[in-house]
Symmetry: C2
Subunit: 313 residues, 2 copies
């Protein structure tokens, strides 16, 4: 059976999970964009509609277009049809929860389905990462990997891209606040130290090892202990209003831990149950209600599968 149109859910993702800076991410269940991808008789890529965000319509400037182009140029033989995209952004660009990654991951996933699935989900990661190049300047995989594969992922190698799929803590929920402030990417990058103390790096990789072990053992207490970042968070958290208070009070309310999602400004926390995750959300809401900063607040299960097909015909 040949399909001509696919509608899908392209999930938001948390990257830079505490000690796993630049390597660990996870996928959200109930936060994400929807996209429609349609075969067209004309070859090439056309972005027909974008709602919910102001993004370029030129395929070569849009992460979704760039990602599909990267995939097409890898094929031995290009398909004899083109693609038309409708993108409904729910994830705000610049939020730190993988807005561009969702577009890139959804685009390559959908186009791959319409072509009869020449690639598996792992193979799609590198094309989606090329889409990220359009948004971030480099083909980073730490958001597109969980967006495509679901659950928790580890970027074992960035060049060439190699991704490991990790197990999840069962029943885990994330509470994420996106304070609507703009942090310039250049500032967020420049604030990072180029050099770090060896003793801090040792602590960080001990925690990464403990975090991976905790996921395999489904050990939420160890997971909580290992959610520490001695290297990046102390610098970047200065750019996020009330960060320390949000994290501290979230943990007091029962969260296992948290940190900065991506390069911010979103703050993520993890909780063992929906009930705790909602209590954490209330706690965080109160803190941000005291400011004049508008914000979005999300409570979501971890999405174990990544991009999802909503309908296909």
């Amino acid at each position: 059976m040949k399909f001509t149109e696919i509608k899908l859910f392209a999930p938001a993702t948390i990257a830079n999970i505490a000690c796993g800076f630049d390597v660990m991410g996870c996928c959200l269940e109930s936060v994400g964009d929807t996209m429609v991808i349609r075969k067209t008789d004309d070859k090439g890529i056309r972005i027909k509609a974008i709602t919910g965000g102001s993004l370029p319509f030129e395929p070569e400037k849009n992460v979704a277009g760039v990602a599909i182009m990267a995939m097409l140029s890898d094929l031995k033989r290009e398909p004899d049809f083109g693609f038309e995209l409708e993108i409904n952004k729910k994830i705000k660009p610049g939020s730190g929860i993988g807005s561009s990654a969702a577009s890139a991951a959804g685009a390559v996933f959908g186009a791959n389905e319409l072509m009869g699935r020449p690639y598996n989900r792992h193979e799609l990661v590198k094309f989606a990462a090329e889409g990220e190049r359009a948004a971030c300047g480099s083909p980073i995989a730490d958001n597109v990997a969980p967006a495509l594969l679901g659950g928790f992922t580890l970027v074992q190698s960035a060049d060439p891209i190699k991704i490991l799929e990790l197990p999840s803590i069962s029943g885990l929920y994330a509470t994420v606040i996106h304070p609507q402030i703009e942090i310039k990417t250049s500032l967020s990058r420049d604030i990072l130290p180029q050099q770090v103390a060896l003793k801090d790096a040792v602590k960080q990789w001990a925690n990464v090892g403990a975090l991976v072990h905790a996921l395999h053992e489904n050990d939420s207490a160890l997971f909580a202990e290992s959610l520490q970042d001695h290297i990046v968070e102390p610098h970047r958290s200065k750019l996020i209003p009330r960060f320390d208070e949000v994290k501290k009070k979230a943990i007091e309310a029962g969260a296992l831990g948290g940190g900065i999602s991506g390069s911010g400004p979103s703050i993520f926390t993890f909780s063992k149950t929906l009930q705790i995750a909602e209590k954490v959300a209330n706690t965080i809401e109160k803190i941000y209600d005291e400011t004049t900063i508008p914000f979005h607040l999300y409570v979501s299960r971890i999405n174990e599968t990544g991009v999802k097909i909503l309908s296909i015909k």
Copy 2:
């Protein structure tokens, strides 16, 4: 039943497993010291005999004595007897495969058994680490943990000491060469960089995550890929003659990977089978036969249980 004498095997250990510098170690099956610990009517600790090495007989200067003293001082009530130790060193001090750790681990393990086991193996780690303080100047746990617990261990936290027990790759063998050269501890320490590039640290913790995942998945190919050290090995390997050649040719002979054990000069490699481990040993032997440096060469299974009781009466 009350016991009065225990004879045990105190294993050698590999610490600083590649990317897991300062945190990951593993225990060897067929390399280690033997110790006899005996109850005495007189209180206190007496070291009656030391064979195979020139080490202090004063308990407060000997790692075995210091470790037992640390344990005794933690007890609510000291036992109404003392301990007499005979230590037969097979692991040469300064070899980098946990000579002092074996003495410390064996001592606390044996004394604990004779006292009716007031502590479990995990609790013994901190006392054995206190023994290490006598040898190394600080209470490090990366050798005593695998010596007491067996298999692969991760020092999740050095202060307070918290150890995680990791699964092993099934059927794994280690080939270890101990070139009998002296590397001054101060030189081995001073050659380490105090600061490391963030991008190298990221690579290192990606590999630590991959290594822990590989152990859980029993994935020897991934285990091999993750046995990399971008931070310490480039510096310390300069102190070990023919290091690069040994590692390269060992891998060509079938080893999964390797590195510097502890702070050297021993070089470890891992192989999937005994046959490969022996081939690797032959390869390494040939390289060192070309030098004038005397050496010991070991092939050993991974020891899954740590210190072993040989006899108790």
